[in-house]
Each structure stands twice: as structure tokens, then as C-alpha cells.
């Protein structure tokens, strides 16, 4: 026991010394460093190996896309300096010259062609769904054709990160996963899985060398531990600050709490078929607009915000945030159908469901912030209008298989949906287009909603190569949907960060922590 104490004492002294040393480094003028606590580690560093947010954050440090999505979700040049439409379906991208991969290789059009080709055969094939042909015109020009006019191709390309053809072929997938090479602002120097990932600045970065020279990412899954690591000075910034730690961190004047409404819209999809699997009535009451309206009015969104979300949510106005195409200015579910239990009960009575009905809500219990509690709150709110909501909660690994279309086991589903492309059309076409009518459309239309008018407008939006025309059609869709209510939007979660006061960080709307945009005070 005595021996042990001695050891821990020594270790403590050493740890303290180490902290002093690292503090010294931070304040020195010539090398700035930053340590970021993430919720999880990257699984691998091949951007085409699957969908994972934590990996995504790291990808953008190492790789660049042709088109860059800015912090406010607008789009700007990345590896492509400019692009133009030469006819309705042909895009020509002019590439930046003199850009080098981390291994010194020059970036050329052939790398783009290689990347797109590989993408089409990968798990992320959906990103290339709207690309039919592509070729290198010369070393710095790439021509991409879409199967139909597609005004938002650049949005899609912002998610496609460019690999080095030579390197990828040389090392193979397995090495690429571990030792990636890109054109990005940072180079990977060391990756000890689940412990830390170190990056160092790419001095030759085409947009200028990063301000911060060394960045370390540390995966700390447990929220309380993440907060502790910040409070002990082990990390400078943490992602996903625990809701219950917000006040604790705010009270300490050494730290800032930063928040940003997330793009993830929590929504309730309603089954619109004549007969619904969990409703024991001959006719599905959810097909009646009055019932759906009653449901919206029965939800006390402010109670959910204050009681369940601790104030940290933004009630959704529409299906997409205001920054997106298809958003209609000055229109909101909360104004159209404000919380009003009395009115809701009247609507139920008018629709012939005075005595209510029973149905089941399927959702996760480990995917969205407080998902299970929200489901319980909905059950008690709907009870006031005699809708008896049974809950079917499950872990996300089961959920996404359970609700997949066309399994059709659900009457009502709560899930989250974000539209990182900034374009409502990418959501509307898969979620609200009639199912089975057109390949690539309506594949996640979980409520089997079908409205020819909506289909026609989406067709029109997808037939134009002009962005403002597309926006107009999609806004019309939004208006129809908000009248029809095939889906009830609930709220956007809040992305929370905590950082030392010295860290200058503005959270991005897309939840990407990008060290290139961060600075630390001298």
C-alpha cells in the first residue's frame, strides 16, 4: 500500500510537470498546437469506406473536395477553381494547378477520375448516383455528365474527397485506411487507434499554411470524461459537451461553451396507407389530414424543449433549415398549427375519432439526444387527444434494419434526418416521391406518401439545371407538404462544444470541427 502511494505521488509530480511543459508550448509563438476531444475515433481514413461522422471530421483535414462547403453551408472553390455548365447535363471543372499531395505528387485530373470511378464501386456509391460519365479533358480539366439536368451537382461533390490515384493503387485499401495521403491542410503523422491521432500542418497547402501547426485528436467516448479532460487541461476543445455539464463549464471563466443548431431534424413519419400495421381499424386514421393536424397541435414543442432538452433544441419550422434550397421564408409549422389541445380534440372529433385510436411509435433509444424521453413525452401528449401511443424502442443497430423500406411494419417512426447537401430536393425526392414509380426516387418514403402534384414538382426541379428555378419548385413542394403533413418535424438538436478561452472557434453548421478554421491566442 505504501509502495503504491509513493508511485502515485511520483506519477502525479511527473504528470504535473508534463502539464507545465505542454502549457509552455502552447504559449510559445512559433508553434501552435491544439488538442481536440472527439466522441469517437475514426474507424478508418478512407473516405469511401462507409458513413461515419467522426471519420468525416478527420477526412477534411487530410483530403480536399473539388467543391468546398463553407462553415455557413454556402459553396466555394476547393480543388476545383471554377466550374460551369456547358449544356444541361455537362459540367466542366477547372482544377487548381500546382497543388501537391502530401507525398509530393502533383494533383491532376486523372486523380479526380480515379476517385469518382472508385466511388461508384464503393459503399458510398450513393454520392455518385447523379454522375453518369466523367473524363479528364486535360490535366487540369474534368468533364462530368449527369444523367439528367442536376443543378446541385457541386453540392454532392463537396462530399467527395479526392484521393491520389498513384498512392491508392500503390498501397491498396488496407494501407490507405491507415496511412492516408491527400492534398488537405494537414498531414497524418501518428495514429494510435482509440488513443490519439496526430496531424501536422501542410506548409504547402494551396489556400495557405494552417495557423495551428500540430493538432491532436483524442477519442473520449464518455461525456463526463470528456468534460473532465477539458477541465484538467488535457484537451483544449471538446465536441458534444454533455447537456448536464453545460452549467458547470459555463460557471468556470476559463472556458467557453459554444452552441450551434444542428442540421439533424428529428421527424415523425406517418403511415399514409389505407391500412396500417399497428392500427386495429379498417381505415387508417392517419390518412385523414385532420387527424395529422390534430397530432401536430397536440405536441407541446416548448415543453419538450424546456423539460426534456434542457433548452438545447430548436423547434423545427419546416423539413429543412433556412439555409437550404426549398425553404420557404416566413412559413412555420409552429405558426400554422400552434399547440392547442382543445382544437386538436375538435379536429379528432370532426374526423370521427372522438374515442381515439391506438398505434405504435417505432424509434431508437440510443441514437438521438433523449430519444426515449421524447417518445414518452409524445405518448403523454397524444393521450390528451385520446391517441394511445405504444412505444417500440430499440437500439439503432436494430432500428435502421427494422424501418427499412419496404418492410412496412410501422405506423409511425421517429428518426433524424439531415440534409448536408443544403438542398431540400435530395431529401424530398427520396422521402416524399411516390414509391416504386421511378428508380432512385422514394426509396425511403417510409409513410408511403403519394401525391402526383409533389411528384411532378420534384420531376420539374430535377429537370432544370438552373438553381433558382429548382429552388422555386422545391418551395412549392414544401408548401404542399406543410399542408398535407405526411411527416411532423419536431426539432433540431443543438451541437455543443466547450473550449478554453484562448481557443478561437466558431462552430460550423455541419458539425465538422475543422482545425484549419481554428486559432489559439498567443
Amino acid at each position: 500500500m505504501l509502495n503504491l502511494r509513493k508511485k502515485s505521488g511520483r506519477a502525479a509530480l511527473f504528470a504535473a510537470a508534463l502539464m507545465l511543459v505542454s502549457a509552455g508550448w502552447e504559449t510559445s509563438a512559433d508553434a501552435k498546437s491544439l488538442t481536440i476531444g472527439l466522441t469517437s475515433d475514426a474507424v478508418n481514413l478512407d473516405p469511401q469506406a462507409g458513413e461515419e461522422l467522426s471519420s468525416n471530421i478527420l477526412f477534411y483535414h487530410i483530403y480536399d473536395p473539388l467543391v468546398r462547403r463553407n462553415a455557413d453551408l454556402s459553396f466555394g472553390p476547393g480543388l476545383a477553381e471554377s466550374w460551369e455548365l456547358t449544356d444541361d447535363t455537362t459540367w466542366v471543372f477547372k482544377l487548381r494547378q500546382g497543388v501537391k499531395f502530401h507525398n509530393g505528387e502533383e494533383f491532376k485530373a486523372s486523380d479526380v477520375v480515379f476517385t469518382l470511378d472508385r466511388l461508384k464501386k464503393s459503399l458510398m456509391a450513393n454520392l455518385g448516383a447523379n454522375i453518369s460519365e466523367f473524363r479528364a479533358v486535360d490535366d487540369y480539366t474534368v468533364e462530368i455528365k449527369t444523367p439528367r439536368p442536376y443543378a446541385v451537382l457541386p453540392n454532392d461533390l463537396a462530399a467527395v474527397l479526392i484521393l491520389s490515384e498513384k498512392y491508392a493503387k500503390e498501397v491498396g485499401d488496407e494501407q490507405l485506411d491507415l496511412k492516408p495521403i491527400g492534398t488537405g491542410p494537414y498531414k497524418l503523422t501518428e495514429w494510435v487507434k482509440e488513443d490519439h491521432l496526430k496531424l501536422t500542418a501542410n506548409a504547402d497547402y494551396f489556400a495557405g499554411a494552417p495557423v495551428i501547426d500540430d493538432v491532436t485528436f483524442r477519442p473520449i467516448t464518455n461525456g463526463a470524461t470528456r468534460t473532465a479532460a477539458l477541465l484538467t487541461g488535457e484537451v483544449d476543445v471538446i465536441q458534444d459537451l454533455n447537456v448536464r455539464d453545460v452549467d458547470r463549464v459555463k460557471a468556470d471563466d476559463r472556458y467557453n461553451v459554444l452552441s450551434q443548431p444542428s442540421l439533424l431534424n428529428i421527424v415523425l413519419s406517418l403511415d399514409m396507407r389505407e391500412k396500417s400495421p399497428t392500427i386495429a381499424l379498417d381505415k387508417n386514421p392517419l390518412t385523414d389530414q385532420r387527424v395529422r393536424e390534430a397530432m401536430v397541435r397536440a405536441i407541446d414543442i416548448n415543453a419538450i424543449k424546456t423539460v426534456i432538452m434542457n433548452g438545447l433544441s430548436t423547434p423545427s419550422e419546416q423539413y429543412v433549415p433556412s439555409s437550404h434550397t426549398g425553404y420557404v421564408e416566413g412559413m412555420s409549422f409552429r405558426d400554422l398549427y400552434p399547440y392547442d389541445v382543445k382544437k386538436a380534440a375538435e379536429l379528432m372529433e370532426a374526423a370521427g375519432y372522438k374515442d381515439g385510436f391506438t398505434l405504435t411509435l417505432d424509434t431508437t433509444n440510443n441514437r438521438y439526444v433523449n430519444d426515449a424521453q421524447i417518445a414518452q413525452a409524445l405518448a403523454s401528449m397524444f393521450a390528451k387527444v385520446k391517441i394511445d401511443l405504444k412505444l417500440n424502442l430499440m437500439p439503432k443497430s436494430n432500428f435502421f434494419g427494422y424501418i427499412r423500406v419496404p418492410s412496412d411494419k410501422s405506423s409511425m417512426i421517429m428518426s433524424g434526418w439531415d440534409v448536408p447537401s443544403g438542398d431540400a430536393g435530395s431529401m424530398y425526392s427520396v422521402m416524399f416521391y411516390s414509391r416504386g414509380k421511378k428508380e432512385g426516387y422514394g426509396q425511403v418514403n417510409r409513410g408511403s406518401y403519394s401525391n402526383p402534384e409533389v411528384d411532378a414538382l420534384i420531376d420539374k426541379a430535377d429537370a432544370t439545371s438552373k438553381l433558382d428555378e429548382r429552388d422555386g419548385y422545391l418551395q412549392d413542394v414544401t408548401k404542399i407538404l406543410m399542408k398535407d403533413i405526411p411527416m411532423i418535424p419536431v426539432h433540431y438538436e443543438q451541437d455543443l462544444y466547450a473550449a478554453k478561452k484562448s481557443v478561437k472557434l466558431t462552430p460550423r453548421a455541419d458539425k465538422f470541427l475543422w482545425a484549419y478554421e481554428i486559432d489559439v491566442a498567443e
Binding site: K7, D46, N126, A224, T232, E234
Partner: protein, 321 residues
Amino acid sequence: MLGYTLKRLLQMVLVLWAVSVIVFLMMSFTGDPVFMVIPIDSTAAEIEQARRLLGLDQSIFNQYWYFIGNLLQGDFGRSYVFRQPALDLILERLPATMEMVLVAITMATVIAIPLGVYAGANPNRASSRSIMAGSLIGISLPGFWVGMMLIFIFSVRYQLLPSSGRGDTIEVLGVRLSILTADGWAHILLPSITLALATLAIILRITRAGMMEVTRQDYMKFARAKGASRRHILFAHGLKNALIPVVTIFGLQLGDLIAFATITETIFAWPGTGKLLIDSIYRGDRPVIVVYLMLTAFIFVVINFLVDIVYTLIDPRITVR
């Protein structure tokens, strides 16, 4: 002895085979891993493509058949998510877990056995009672709470020890070890203490019970009558006989800690295998889960074998057959 070893080897193969079948069957009932790795709005064709890429387009029997076939050639399958060989993923993280577990179990044993002997030899002393009361607390406190408390007190409040991670490591024969650096020790202490607590309490209680049992035996009184010192009798005669159940428990606990250090690893962001298991279950990453559980079964079988050998060393009357 040779026959016995062969018998145990055969048993081991059977156990591993059973585990592989059970895990494979169970996995086919849980969620579809495809939906964990592809974007949610993928079309049917894209889902099919992904299924093909992951080998999930085959029936579960075929999948199992390939798995066993590859296994016999030394290929344990590839993670869907990491795309690396499943065994490599586990072995890469195993040193971190082993290190933490060994520090923990050493701590637990070194503290528990002397205290247990003391409490067993002097059951009525106030100090013994408080040791026993303390051990009850050790058993009943949940690990995650203890971990959080240790972080709160030693990291946040007094800033003595780091809260998470593994710290500096030194590579020895390709294996990263943190117990060779002072910083590594600073990092390993809190998680090891958290992990050690319950084991410490259990070993302590078993040692005490064994000691109380043997102190009543005639040979103990006889030895005392012969004039041997009390200390000598307790440790040379008493402890040796009280140790058999302790060794059993030690073996079980060791296996347990290696296999399921998950909670401690999560709390302290310790880059070990436990977290890998949880993440893999979360992502439906079947190959990793199967190999992990088989490795765990393997570890248990080996430990049990070693425990049986240790029995014979402690008590020559026990022979392995």
C-alpha cells in the same frame, strides 16, 4: 499429464467451435450490418452492392462455412467497418487491456491476500470488521461510479492524475507499453484502481473464509503446539491450504477482467479491446464480435487449465488426470 493436456486441448476446440456457432446464429438475429455502414438514403441497388462487398449476400450457412474455411487457413475474417483483419484489430488493442488488467489484478491480490489472512486469523477484531465492511463497499459500488469519482477527485479537483488516455508509451518488440514510462503510470493508476476494487474485495473475502476454515483444523493447533511462530503457521500452513478456492476465483476474475473491462475502458478512454467490442456490437460488425468472443473463450479455457496446474503445485494431493 500429456493425456490430460490433450484432453483439455480437445475440449478447447469444442468450446471454440460451439462459441462460433452460437455467436454466428445470434448475429443473424440482430440488426443488419449493411445499414450501419451505408448512407441512409441509398437505393436498393446500392444496398445490394454494399451487401455484395461485405459478403452479406450469402446465406448465413454459407457465411459460416466460409468463415470456418478461412479460419482453418488462419484467416479470421475482416471487419466490415474497419476493413482490417478482425484478429489484428483485437490484437492491436489487447496489450492496453492486458496491461491495465495485470496492474489491477496484481494490486488486488497483493492487497487482498494479506488483509484476508489477517481478517481470517483474527475475525473478532474491530480492524477485521472494518476490513470486511470495506470489502462489502468494494463489491457493491458500481465500477462506472467509482471511475467517475476517482476522475472527479484526482483529476478535476486536485489535478494529480490525468483523466483519460494511455499517455506516453514505449514500443517493446512491436508492442506499445505504458508501464515503462512515468506518464504511462500516471495514466494507468486510476483505471486500474477502478478495475481492481471489486476483485480485491472478492479475493479478500474468499481468503478470509478459507483462513477461518483452516485455523480450526487440528494440524494448525498441532503446529502451534510444536512451537512454530504464529506468523509462520498462518502463511506456511494456513494460507497454502486456504488458497485453492482463491486460485479458482483469481482465474475466473482474471478472465473476466480481460474480457469485460469495457466500462472502465470507456470511462477512462483507455484504448483497449473492451471498447472495441462495444463499438462493434453497436455497429453490427459481426466478424469482430465473433473473433472477439472466440478469443475470450480461448483465454478462459487457457486460464482454467493454468489454474488446474497451479492446484497441483499448491496441494500435491491433487493430481491432473
